[in-house]
Amino acid sequence: MAVTEHRILLKYADEPDYSVDIDCYLEKGGYETLKKALTMKPEDIRVEVKNSGLRGRGGAGFPCGVKWHDLVDRKSGKPIYLICNGDESEPGTFKDRQLIHKDPHQLIEGMMISSFANDVQLAFIYIREEMPLGARILEKAIEEAREKGLLGDNIQGSGYSCDIIVHRGAGAYICGEETGLIESLEGKRAYPRMKPPFFPAALGLYNCPTIVNNVETLCNVVHILKMGAEEYTRIGRPKNAGTRIWCVSGHVRKPGYYEVGAVTMGEMLHDLCGGPLPGRQFKAIVPGGGSMKILRADERFKGKDADGNEIEYGLEDIPLDFDGIMAAGSMSGSGGMMVMDDSVDILEALANLTAFYAHESCGQCTPCREGSLWASKITARMCSGDARPGDLDTLYSMVGNIGGRTVCPMGFSTTWPVQSYIDKFRDEIEERARENRCGMGRDERLIQK
């Protein structure tokens, strides 16, 4: 039986007569959950979210309820802010785009409930510049909600007030990093902050306690409160509750976004995405956005089954969630899966990604600033037919000095791809480097001439 989607967040998004107007959303029962939330105690909502096991959908997978309930500093007396991170920039990821453009009120309701649960009076949506229509859709949706007394002053007569500001980015991936986002929101260059001490939950926007949550995470809050935490935990797998909107791109027949509960990699790739392109074979998967370690299509993994026995399994058996992919040696990250088939020159794919990260490096700290550009220069040179002996060793060992030595986790965005691509495809890359060919004579070139 082929697996199908389990649409909760995207339930109405692609229906032909569903629009972004508030009337459509209200018709489907929208904002009823907010009204229910306003009758609850904020602390109870936080506990409910904590019990649901909701993990952040932005990349780190940190338990949302733990962040809200245990980490936010509520003793400082300073205002608490909520920021929706809509700066979706991780290569391969495009789920937040759907939620923003197709069902903006779900996000707004999620933000309002989350704000109420955390005593927030002012929330922000930081949306990337490359989604200008999305920004307008959100601004219009906010005004619609305000008109209906669902946002702004004295919401539904409850005495609770909260406003949302839509703040447009201007083309920086590093604004997806929560402290980089906060710096940008404060009007500065998006240089991520040192943690400790600048954990946003304690010292965030204007050095006030700040919650930064992903778009999808906040949308999930509506459904958690609607169905209850217990019901929510039954979707997905233990410790990986809820649905996830997976984004699959690259060499599959049906690339796109798929909201699913517990599925395996194979079910996603074949049942939902239609398998490889005609006449091709899967070669490699980057499971969670460009920063994550690559997996070979023919890779074998060691694990334990439910009874604790050692088992071996393949790529297609990997459960598609936080823990499943982590057990396979990578991370589910932002849920942006990039599929590569046997037409792909792995070294060029690597050159493409290292160029991206070099371009997006903020430049604040030495290892990422210099190392990411160096990795990009080496891989580009190797792809141009000028590879030299020792390039791979230099590249591999050099990037080892980046990840973990930097201010923010972006250092890993160069380290993980370079080291995992070389680890998993060493023979191919070495042969490529040795023979010094330009491209593999296949269809697609993956870097600029």
Binding site: H359, K377, G404
Partner: protein, 562 residues
């Protein structure tokens, strides 16, 4: 095993296993330095906010382990705490000392980390050492020698950025050498309060610059040159003049104002090449104004006096001194001393005044605008020295009106001017003609031209002496270079004059003068020149509490509330 605070408020942390006692919250770089161990760093500066971006100060960090469930400390059999080490390195500058903290500044991981960071820093760095002024005092050179891997694996093209930019009237910028530590930006913003520097562009192309049309021209711009760890920001005045390893540094005081910034004066073979600040956490931190750095130019100015004169004709020193001594014995004498003279000189001048039978003594006040930082309103560095030595007992005026009146009514016939130009102080050419002047000075002026006897003295750089700043802090300033052949140290001149008038030997060496000071001035009893610490010594100025000192608030100084 002392993890708890003892009475002194200090805590114990462990650097490479060695216990270090420090205040809680001490920065790890400073704490390690207390143990004599260096944590190499670029962007950290003890007087600026922590930036944490160079990543050179990465160290291993460990905390006493605690049982996850009970929260109780985990202990070895012998009762010592089990240290759980963080798997990855942490930055030293961002780590504040907490009880029981352990750090490692030497280990395989840290060696690797430092080699990595050094390699990255040198990646796009130009091979400028042979033409770069920073060579010899460059952190990149030092740390790559000590901690780098010793070879380069980089075969790509280096980034090109603007070189030789005139950032301001005194500072030159080479953007290729810049390692983007942001010290200069933080300094301008936090200390100089002149937000004029910033980074533009992104990633490895990030470049330091000013806004077009603006310049780095505030009176503290050269401090950015001091704190720049590499040769990106350099002093235009010093550019290409001298290699720093040939320079000798002498600790001195900036005599520009009563702040008394501590300085280093750098010389080679009897020439001064530059002045930089010297750290004193009680006075000037690590800063000094730009205007104080050019004062050394006066040493080689064309109107230096390097020969004594009698009635305009050059004469050997002892002749001139003898003539001066004789004149001082005739008629009524007034003394014009200087707030720029040292305590020793002022003491001798007082003795001379007494020896002449109590000559009225005037000083000349110099008032400028205080900048709230390191330049006070009082542009005399040592008015308080004159007060303490009893040379004067009230604050001086800018113009010598009383003296002028005394000249006009004939009650003063001789003026001994030490280190002051009477013309600037309001005495007219006519009035100068009415009296006989003995001028002790280092430079030509209207006074020395009108003087009956000119005794050629030395500039402050050529003398050792002590000065009392606005905090009533006694600070010493050492001779940096010898004076020209024909000039004589003011101390010697004054002591000889005293001897001539009293008929007894007068102290001329600093040690001898201080013996005399110690036995006559109560606030300075028991003090010797040598015993004055590098950072100075506060003395009791309460005797002068009622005087209307003109200084306003500056760094580390609050004027007394009237």
């Amino acid at each position: 095993m002392s993890e708890t605070k003892q009475d002194d408020g200090l805590i114990s942390i462990f650097v490479n296993g060695t216990e270090v006692r420090c205040a809680p919250g001490t920065n790890m770089i400073d704490a390690a330095a207390m143990a004599g161990m260096e944590i190499p760093h670029y962007c950290y500066h003890p007087k600026l906010s922590v930036s944490g971006n160079c990543r050179m100060c990465l160290i291993e960090l460990g905390l006493p382990g605690r049982d996850r469930a009970t929260g109780k400390p985990l202990l070895h059999d012998d009762g010592s705490p089990i240290i759980s080490w963080f798997p990855g390195p942490a930055i030293g500058c961002g780590t504040k000392a907490a009880p029981g903290m352990h750090i490692k500044t030497q280990s395989d991981m840290i060696k690797q980390t430092r080699e990595g960071v050094m390699e990255f820093l040198l990646l796009n760095h130009p091979l400028d050492c042979p033409i770069c002024d920073q060579a010899g005092e460059c952190s990149l050179q030092e740390f790559s020698a000590n901690y780098g891997q010793g070879y380069s694996r980089f075969v790509e093209e280096k980034n090109v950025k603007p070189k030789r930019t005139v950032l301001g009237p005194r500072v030159t910028l080479d953007d290729e050498r810049c390692i983007l530590c942001s010290r200069c930006i933080r300094f301008c913003s936090e200390v100089a309060k002149d937000d004029v520097l910033g980074f533009i562009d992104r990633g490895s192309y990030t470049t330091l610059t000013c806004f077009p049309g603006r310049q780095l021209e505030n009176n503290y711009s050269l401090n950015t040159v001091d704190i720049c760890p590499v040769g990106a920001l350099t002093s235009t005045d010093f550019r290409f003049k001298m290699r720093v390893w040939f320079l000798k540094s002498t600790p001195r005081i900036d005599l520009e104002s009563s702040v008394g910034c501590n300085t280093e004066v750098w010389t080679r073979e009897g020439r001064i090449y530059r002045i930089t600040p010297r750290r004193n956490d009680e006075v000037n931190d690590t800063w000094m104004p730009d205007s104080g750095r050019i004062l050394y130019k006066a040493v080689e100015s064309e109107d230096r006096l390097n020969a004594c004169r009698i009635d305009g004709e050059e004469r050997p020193t002892d002749e001139a001194v003898a003539e001066a001594g004789r004149i001082l014995g005739e008629g009524s004498v007034a003394i014009v001393g200087s707030g720029g003279s040292s305590v020793e000189e002022q003491f001798l001048l007082r003795q001379l005044g007494d020896a002449i039978g109590g000559a009225p003594t005037h000083l000349v006040s110099r008032i400028g605008e205080g900048d709230g930082l390191l330049l006070s309103r009082d542009r005399n560095p040592n008015i308080r020295g004159a007060l303490i030595t009893g040379l004067i007992d009230e604050l001086p005026t800018e113009k010598l009106d009383r003296l002028g009146a005394a000249i006009d009514d004939g009650s003063v016939q001789t003026i001994l001017a030490v280190g002051e130009d009477l013309g600037v102080a309001g005495i007219t050419e006519d009035q100068l003609k009415k009296v006989r002047i003995i001028s002790i000075a280092s430079h030509e002026s209207a006074t020395s031209r009108a003087a009956a006897v000119v005794l050629a003295g030395l500039t402050v750089f050529e003398k050792s002496g002590s000065y009392i700043n606005q905090q009533f802090r006694l600070q010493k300033s050492l001779m940096a270079l010898p004076g020209p052949g024909g000039a004589v140290d003011d101390r010697v001149l004054l002591a000889t004059l005293v001897a001539r008038r009293t008929g007894e030997r007068a102290p001329a060496t600093i040690e001898a003068i201080w013996e005399a000071i110690g036995s006559t001035i109560t606030q300075l009893s028991g003090v010797s020149f040598e015993s004055i610490p590098e950072t100075g010594r506060l003395i009791d100025g309460t005797a002068f509490d009622n005087l209307p000192f003109i200084e306003e608030e500056t760094l580390h100084f609050q004027p007394a509330v009237p």
